[in-house]
């Protein structure tokens, strides 16, 4: 199992379209993927669960990946956050 802390750097945080992109990416992996903020742990493959985190810019969340492709999944998801979800800011 891999646990990775990620800072949300895009201006709008984990808003609806960003959460949708994250879900679409997460669903391409076989591993179980979770996002954790404070005491809330949600399935990273469910857009409506991700949105319940209400995670804004500069929030630090933890990605938990568990499965055969956990390394690739973690790397891809970290990159998605790092790319500002393709939003440019």
């Amino acid at each position: 199992m891999i646990k990775k802390k990620i800072r949300i750097i895009n201006k709008l945080g984990l808003h609806a379209r960003a959460s949708s992109k994250l879900t679409q990416l997460a669903c391409t992996f076989k591993s179980e993927l979770f996002l954790i903020k404070d005491k809330n742990k949600v399935n990273a493959k469910s857009i409506m669960e991700i949105l319940m985190l209400a995670a804004s810019k500069n929030t630090i969340i933890t990605l938990e990946a568990n499965g055969e492709d956990e390394k690739e999944a973690t790397e891809s998801i970290v990159n998605l956050f790092g790319s500002y979800f393709g939003e440019g800011e």
Binding site: A16, S20, T23, I47, M48, M52
Partner: protein
Amino acid sequence: MIGILLVTHGDIGKALLNCAAHILDSSTFSVDCLSINSNKNLENYSNIISKKIKDLDTGNGVLIMTDIYGATPCNLLNKFTKENEVAVITGVNLPMLIKAISDRKDNLSIIVKDSMDCAINNIKKI
């Protein structure tokens, strides 16, 4: 995959559908909507709904969402609730629709429960 039909007052359904497609960045294949105007012939609407259900059903059933319980769009749908592979839920909101579209490969009864839970869980005082 289930079909999804929005039967609402005015263009609420159309607007919800556009927003869901924008957020999910995906096609709304197998999702349709119908605006109800109570000044028009209601029997015509029943025929239209019946046809839309047939068109949307690929063998896994159709989930119909409407807005106000007890209002005309809802009342029009009463007779369709007796059909085996049709489920009708009220109080449609955007979270409910997004959840249903996201999960539409699941079983109809599971989607009904999860969509309703999602709709309710998204009503919060912040």
